[in-house]
């Protein structure tokens, strides 16, 4: 390997220094900054606090889901079900609310059903040795189908304010959903980077056989990551339902691809063993920035997708050129 020579310092230890160092490793940060600076210079409305909060708010659903996806991808797995699970858990929470279940219970229903669906994937992947791609694809279809079946295709709406505030309320100037998302990122970041469990997630993804030989409970680790991903999708479902004061079986179609993209933009590899929550945060924000820029600059709809693709390509291109440069 050419990389063999210039060993970049690893991310270790606490405190600011370590975050700086971590950022330094995440070459995608350059792409992130490039987009931010461009928008700041060309769009007066960009650097307002309202706008920045709106980016965070708009990124909250994909962010929460991408956190779960990061755990899964670091183990070398994939969870394609998250978009459908967001829809399914949303309508289940909605059904619970319509049946006058108290708000906290309805939230638990949403998150719990998400965790269960993750548990189903976990079971198939660890005990039945099935491919996560296919299992989660099957769950993608099944959860979406169930969302239609249980609602009869209808939209559920008019939930109690206490519920809606989770996704759509504010705490002072801050959107509650954005605060929850930041909390999720913080906790997940600590878990993945600083705990024994996190280290085991990396080990399982980096070399599953080695992990097993070293006595790491591979099956349990895998099971937990899918359950985390499912539960976070459930949380996403609750937030989305609250934000829209309604739950639709068709919600969040294709969310999985965006979430996975954010994780991969953030430096994770689908082969496992690599990735970080900080990277995913950057990936999510890059996607959020692109969409924000497209809206602020009122880019004509026909051009939106093209530019989205081109900017993502550009950001990752900078990243890979950066990595090349650092190697030599």
């Amino acid at each position: 390997m050419a990389s063999a020579q210039t060993s970049t310092p690893q991310r270790r230890g606490f405190g600011l220094a370590s975050i700086t160092r971590a950022l330094n490793e995440l070459t995608i940060v350059v792409g992130f900054l490039a987009i931010s600076i461009y928008l700041a210079l060309t769009t007066p409305a960009f650097l307002t606090s309202a706008n920045i909060l709106s980016i965070l708010l708009a990124s909250s659903l994909i962010g929460i889901v991408a956190v779960g996806e990061t755990f899964v991808i670091v183990t070398g797995g994939i969870d394609l079900s998250v978009g459908s699970v967001v829809a399914f858990t949303g309508v289940m929470a909605g059904l619970a609310l319509n049946a006058h279940v108290p708000v906290p219970m309805a939230i638990i229903v949403g998150i719990g059903i998400g965790a269960l669906s993750g548990g189903f994937i976990a079971f198939a992947v660890t005990f039945l040795n099935m491919s996560p791609f296919i299992v989660s694809l099957a769950v993608l279809a099944m959860a979406r189908g169930l969302a239609f079946i249980v609602t009869n295709g209808n939209t559920l709406f008019s939930f109690p304010d206490a519920f809606d505030n989770i996704g759509g309320g504010n705490l002072g100037p801050f959107p509650v959903a954005a605060l929850i998302t930041l909390g999720v990122f913080l906790v997940a970041g600590l878990v993945l980077a600083r705990t024994v469990f996190g280290a085991e997630v990396y080990a399982v993804g980096g070399n599953r056989e080695a992990a097993r030989l070293a006595g790491i409970p591979v099956g349990r680790t895998l099971a937990i990551v899918y359950i985390i991903s499912g539960a976070l999708a459930g949380l996403g479902g609750v937030i989305l339902a609250g934000r829209l004061d309604s739950a639709q079986p068709i919600a969040a179609v294709g969310l999985e691809l965006n979430a996975i993209a954010a994780v991969v933009i953030g430096g994770a590899s689908l082969f496992g063993g690599k990735g970080s929550i900080l990277g995913t945060l950057l990936g999510v924000l890059i996607i959020g920035l692109i969409n924000n820029g497209l809206t602020l600059k009122n880019v004509q709809p026909f051009w939106v997708q093209f530019i989205q693709g081109a900017v993502i390509f550009g950001a990752v291109l900078i990243d890979s050129l950066n990595q090349k440069r650092r190697k030599s």
Binding site: S7, Q10, V191, V196, A203, N207, R212, L213, A214, G215
Partner: protein, 495 residues
């Protein structure tokens, strides 16, 4: 009092192979048991059963008199049985420290990893095994020998009743080997039982108390070390006498075939110049991390050079990729057979065919399965690769036999210049002699051979000249007349 460990009448079969039949061994506290045998004799399989990697088909085990039947590696670890497996099992993108404590990280409040403690303890362990890398370095950046030392450090990190080392020294140079032996002695004196597997018989004689010989999946004999002689041990292993470990070579040294001038690779080595002539076997010695692997890979076009020239024959060779190198008549055997040499899940025949697909096909495009089979059968026979058939995936071969597949493929392109990085890594004595014969034959046919080996005796035994590297530079060259371990060590360590 019961023995520390008893393995009784263990049998194990794989599809098409009986790997172990009725093997019994025992181990005492404070003892080092050597296990030797040809490639594929069943040594690693026996140890994997002990480690709980898979269960035996028959037989049982006892640990200090109590029945012991691990269902998974974790059970064995919990029982204090630590196995350093022959195939390295590290997580490439994690730090050295984390790899040392893999599965056993110091846990603080809320499940947090105690980083400070981790790094401190890792540092101590690295010192104990003589590895001078930062605990925070990523394993991906380590050479294969350094990785081996990390594995050893991992074994030392756990409190053990039994430690098994499956060919720990295959890639180590003398310096690290000395340190390892000191460690083994300390462990032994502390009452740990050790199993030591090696194809370096002199090591076995030095460190072991008793030695068991496995042959064809059966335990042939166990004697205390004093009751074995090198000859009797080899006889027991291969069931035939071997007259000389290093067969004579009658090669005529001819023109320069490989000439390297001022070669450099960023961060690895610089200003390396030497030449190898037809019929010549040149060794490249040095300590771990001296840059030997990089020199070979740079010549071969696998790493980018930052200066210098490589000439093959009389022409400047513009080698930018391994493909160019092969076209120019070079062959390379990498040190890391699992990562760089083989496509592990593919059959032997596919692996052997990789470099000559063009020739093994019609119109250089449609595969000719018969030709592939012929090549595979021929190579398997020539190198005595032990396998039921050539459709067996290489993953299922014993380590030494895997190594032979890598070597075998290098021969298929009929190269004039061989770059061999640890070519006999993990190969049994009998097979080593065959490899040496092969090297001799190649030299006699006019090939030029450059060998990197951490086995100094091997270098001294088979080379015409030895180049010694130290910290990325050529520290000197020794002609055969000046060969001695001391001289090589001196150059390697002091320059």
């Amino acid at each position: 009092m019961a023995n520390l460990l008893e393995m009784q009448a263990i049998s194990k079969g794989f599809p098409g192979v009986k790997a172990l039949s009725d093997v019994s061994i025992s181990l005492d506290k404070g003892e080092v048991l050597g296990i030797v045998g040809e490639n594929g004799a069943g040594k690693s399989t026996l140890m994997k059963i002990l480690a709980g990697v898979f269960p035996p088909d028959a037989g049982k085990m006892q640990l200090e008199g109590a029945p012991f039947a691990p269902h998974r590696p974790r059970d064995a670890l919990d029982a204090g049985i630590i196995v350093i497996h022959q195939e390295l099992s590290l997580v490439p993108d994690r730090s050295v420290a984390e790899n040392i404590f893999l599965g056993n990280l110091p846990r603080g409040a809320l499940g947090a990893v105690r980083r400070a403690q981790l790094n401190r303890q890792a540092k101590t362990l690295l010192e104990r095994v003589g590895l001078a890398v930062s605990p925070q370095a990523r394993v991906r950046h380590l050479g294969i020998a350094q990785q081996q030392l990390v594995e050893i450090a991992r074994a030392l990190s756990r409190s053990a009743r039994v430690i098994v080392m499956d060919e720990p020294t295959a890639t180590l140079t003398t310096a690290e080997q000395r340190i390892l032996f000191a460690t083994i002695e300390a462990l032994r004196d502390a009452g740990v039982g050790l199993v030591f597997i090696s194809h370096h018989l002199e090591e076995v004689f030095e460190i072991c108390n008793r030695v068991t010989v496995l042959r064809d999946g059966m335990a042939v004999e166990t004697r205390s070390v004093g009751d074995w002689t090198e000859a009797s041990l080899i006889q027991a292993m291969v069931n035939r006498p071997i007259d000389a470990l290093f067969p004579e070579r009658h090669a005529v040294v001819g023109d320069i075939l490989l000439e390297v001038e001022g070669l450099a690779a960023p961060g690895a080595f610089s200003d390396v110049s030497f030449a190898v002539r037809a019929g010549e076997v040149v060794g490249l010695g040095g300590l771990i991390g001296a840059g030997r692997t990089e020199v070979l890979k740079t010549i071969y076009g696998a790493l980018a050079s930052s200066g210098g020239r490589v000439r093959v024959g009389t022409r400047d060779a513009r080698i930018r990729s391994p493909r160019d190198a092969i076209a120019a008549g070079l062959a390379f055997v990498p040190e890391d057979r699992k990562g760089e040499g083989l496509v592990m899940p593919f059959p032997i025949r596919s692996n052997l065919a990789l470099s000559t697909l063009g020739k093994l096909s019609w119109f250089r495009s449609i595969l000719a399965p018969k030709r592939i089979d012929r090549l595979a059968d021929k190579t398997v026979a020539e190198l005595r690769i032990r396998t039921p058939n050539t459709r067996q995936v290489v993953q299922s071969l014993s380590g030494g036999n895997q190594q032979k597949v890598v070597l075998g493929r290098a021969l298929t392109t009929h190269p004039r210049v061989f770059l061999l990085d640890e070519p006999t890594r993990g190969i049994d004595v009998g097979a080593k002699v065959e490899v040496y014969r092969l090297i001799n034959a190649l030299a006699e046919q006019g090939s030029a051979i450059l060998v990197v080996s951490s086995d100094m005796i091997e270098l001294l035994g088979i080379c015409d000249r030895i180049l010694v590297m130290r910290a990325g530079r050529l520290a000197g060259a020794l002609p055969r007349s000046e060969f001695s371990q001391e001289r090589v060590m001196q150059l390697a360590a002091l320059g």
